[in-house]
C-alpha cells in the first residue's frame, strides 16, 4: 500500500491532519516521535535534531556540517520506517528527500491563516497582528531552509501531487480526499518503486556511517552496490578511497563499493546528489 507524506505551512495543522489520515486509513503514523530513537542511536540531543529540521546554519546556531549530519540521521531513521509501507509521515521533511518513489503520495496542506492566528493567540497569548507577521516570516524562513538543506523549495507546488488549502476546504473533507488517494492505481507499490525506496534506505544508512569521517560525502545505491562521491585530494585519493570502501563494505546489505573522487559537488536537486 502507498506511503503518505504530509507537508504543511504549520506543524500543528500538518500533525492534526496526518493523524486523522492515519486513523482513516489504518496506517502507522510517523512524526517527530522517532527523533527519540535517533537521539539514542547517535547520541545527539533532541533539541539539536529539531533545530536541524527548522533552522539554517548560522554563526550562533548549528554549523553547516553538523546540520547535514543531523539531517542524514533523521533521514535514515525516517526511510527505515517508510520501508514498512502503510505509513503516514509528517514533520520529518521526508517530502524533500524521498523523491522519485512512485508509491509515495505527497500532499501539502495550507492552514487557514485566520483560524491559525486565533488558535495561536488563544493558546499562547499575544496580539494577532504580531502572530500573523511571525507566521509569514516562518514560512519564508522554512522556504530558505528547504533550499539550503535539500536544494528544493518546499513551497513549490510542483514538488507535491496535490496542495490543499484549508481556508475553504474543511479538515475532514481534506482527510477524506487524501485517504481516498491511497486506492489510486498509480500510487500502488510496484517492484521498481519498492526497490527505489530500498536503495534510498541503503544509501542513507551508508551516508550516516561515512559522514562521521567524510562529512561532505554523497551516496547512491543500486541493489547491493553503492556509489560514493567524496571530495578527495589527488595525492590521498587511493588511501581515502580504501578507507571509504572498508567502512562502507562493512554495512549490512553492501556487496560492492565504488568511490568517485570529485573536486567539488555540483548543486542539484534532492536525493540524487545527497
Amino acid at each position: 500500500m502507498p506511503i503518505i507524506i504530509i507537508s504543511s505551512d504549520s506543524y500543528k495543522t500538518g500533525r492534526e491532519i496526518s493523524k486523522k489520515i492515519a486513523e482513516a486509513t489504518g496506517y502507522d503514523y510517523v512524526d517527530r516521535e522517532i527523533l527519540d530513537t535517533v537521539t539514542k542511536k547517535f547520541n545527539f540531543q533532541e533539541g539539536q535534531l529539531i533545530k536541524a529540521l527548522e533552522e539554517t546554519p548560522s554563526l550562533f546556531g548549528l554549523s553547516g556540517r553538523l546540520r547535514n549530519r543531523l539531517l542524514a540521521c533523521i533521514e535514515e531513521a525516517t526511510v527505515e520506517k517508510l520501508l514498512k509501507d502503510n505509513v503516514v509521515c509528517h514533520g520529518l521533511a521526508a517530502h524533500l528527500y524521498v523523491l522519485d518513489v512512485s508509491h509515495v503520495i505527497k500532499v501539502r496542506v495550507l492552514s487557514d491563516p485566520d483560524k491559525l492566528v486565533s488558535r495561536l493567540s488563544s493558546e499562547a497569548g499575544g496580539p494577532a497582528d504580531k502572530i500573523k507577521i511571525s507566521l509569514k516570516s516562518n514560512v519564508k524562513k522554512h522556504k530558505r531552509w528547504s533550499l539550503d538543506a535539500f536544494g528544493l523549495d518546499e513551497t513549490d507546488p510542483s514538488n507535491y501531487d496535490m496542495v490543499m488549502n484549508l481556508s475553504q476546504i474543511d479538515l475532514d473533507e481534506a482527510t477524506k480526499n487524501i485517504a481516498g488517494m491511497t486506492v489510486y492505481r498509480k500510487f500502488q507499490p510496484i517492484t521498481y518503486s519498492t526497490n527505489c525506496l530500498k536503495n534510498k534506505n541503503l544509501a542513507s544508512r551508508a551516508r550516516v556511517v561515512l559522514m562521521e569521517q567524510f562529512p561532505d560525502v554523497k551516496v547512491k545505491a543500486d541493489g547491493s552496490t553503492i556509489v560514493v562521491e567524496a571530495k578527495i585530494k589527488k595525492r590521498s585519493k587511493q588511501k581515502i578511497a580504501g578507507m571509504i570502501k572498508k567502512l562502507a563494505g562493512g554495512i549490512n546489505g553492501v556487496d560492492y563499493v565504488e568511490v568517485h573522487a570529485v573536486s567539488d559537488f555540483r548543486s542539484g536537486k534532492g536525493d540524487l546528489n545527497r
Binding site: 512512485s102 503520495i105 501539502r108 495550507l110 491563516p113 513551497t155 513549490d156 507546488p157 510542483s158 507535491y160 501531487d161 496535490m162 496542495v163 490543499m164 488549502n165 481556508s167 475553504q168 476546504i169 474543511d170 473533507e173 480526499n177 488517494m181 489510486y184 498509480k186 500510487f187
Partner: protein, 270 residues
C-alpha cells in the same frame, strides 16, 4: 452551485480538466468567450485583449495604462457571466478577477515540465531545448503579468483552494477532486454570496465605463450602493459628473451612486 476558476499553464491539461468538470456538473465552460464578450461590448479588437491578458505590461503600456483598461473590460465581462452562476472559467487570472466571492472554487492545474516540453515539441515541431525555452518564456510572461497588474505571484499556493499536479494524478482524478469539492456546502451559492457576486459585477461594470477616462478610479458596491473613489483632481470634474449621470441611467441595479474624494480606498475596491 458554484463558480469554478481553473488557472493553468500552457500544456498542463488544465483546459481538458475544465471541459470535463463543466460537462460532469452541467456547468458552462468559458474562456475565450469572455474576450469575445469584452471585445463586442467595448469595441476593442480581440487581439488587443489577448495581448493585454497574456503579455506583461511594458513601460510604454504602463504609461498609457492600456492594459489596466483592457483588464477592467475583461473583468467586467467575466463578472457579468459569473453572476449567472454555474460556470467553469479556465482563462487567465480568474482567481484575481473574482476576488471576494465566497462560492468561487479556485483551482490550479500544473504539469511536469518534461511532459509539457514533449507536447510543445510535438505541436510546434521544434527541439526539446527550444520547446523548454518557449514554455519558460510563457510562464515568465504570465507571472510578470500578474505581478505587474496585481502585485501577486500566480504561482503562490495560498491563492488557490486546490492545486493538482497532473503526473501521477490523472485528468480524470483531477476532475473527480474538483467536482467533489464544488458540490460541498462551502461552495454552494448562498444568498449573501449571490449578492456579493452581483455587487462585484456591478462594480466592474461601473469601473469599465469609467476606466478609459479615469484609469485609476476605484469602485465598490454593496447592495447596489456604488461608491467611487477618486483622487482630489477628479472629484469636481464635470466630465466625471456627466459620465456618472449616464451610468446611473444606463446600468441596472444601482440604488445609489456616490463619489468619495481623497479618502482611504478599501482593499476590496476594484
Amino acid at each position: 452551485m458554484a463558480i469554478i476558476t481553473i488557472s493553468r499553464g500552457s500544456y498542463s491539461n488544465g483546459k481538458k480538466v475544465a471541459e470535463k468538470v463543466a460537462e460532469r456538473l452541467g456547468y458552462k465552460c468559458i474562456s475565450r468567450d469572455i474576450l469575445l464578450d469584452a471585445s463586442k461590448r467595448f469595441q476593442i479588437p480581440e487581439v488587443k485583449l489577448i495581448r493585454a491578458i497574456h503579455d506583461a505590461p511594458s513601460i510604454l503600456d504602463r504609461f498609457k495604462h492600456g492594459k489596466y483598461i483592457f483588464v477592467a473590460y475583461i473583468r467586467s465581462a467575466l463578472a457579468s457571466r459569473a453572476a449567472g452562476d454555474n460556470i467553469v472559467y479556465h482563462g487567465l487570472a480568474g482567481h484575481f478577477l473574482l476576488t471576494g466571492v465566497p462560492h468561487v472554487l479556485k483551482v490550479r492545474i500544473i504539469a511536469d515540465m518534461a511532459n509539457r516540453v514533449e507536447s510543445e515539441m510535438q505541436r510546434e515541431n521544434i527541439s526539446a531545448g527550444d520547446a523548454r525555452l518557449l514554455l519558460e518564456k510563457d510562464d515568465h510572461e504570465r507571472r510578470k503579468w500578474s505581478k505587474a497588474l496585481y502585485g501577486v505571484d500566480p504561482w503562490k499556493s495560498s491563492l488557490y483552494d486546490l492545486i493538482i499536479h497532473i503526473h501521477k494524478l490523472t485528468v480524470s482524478d483531477a476532475v473527480d477532486f474538483i467536482c467533489q469539492a464544488a458540490l460541498k456546502e462551502q461552495f454552494k451559492t448562498t444568498e449573501s454570496g449571490r449578492q456579493k457576486m452581483e455587487d462585484l459585477a456591478l462594480a466592474c461594470q461601473v469601473k469599465a465605463a469609467l476606466v478609459d477616462s479615469f484609469f485609476d478610479i476605484r469602485v465598490t458596491s454593496e447592495y447596489g450602493n456604488v461608491l467611487i473613489y477618486t483622487k482630489d483632481s477628479y472629484g469636481q470634474s464635470s466630465k466625471l459628473k456627466k459620465m456618472l449621470i449616464k451610468i446611473e441611467s444606463e446600468l441596472k441595479g444601482i440604488n445609489n451612486l456616490e463619489v468619495h474624494v481623497g479618502v482611504t480606498i478599501p482593499q476590496n475596491a476594484i
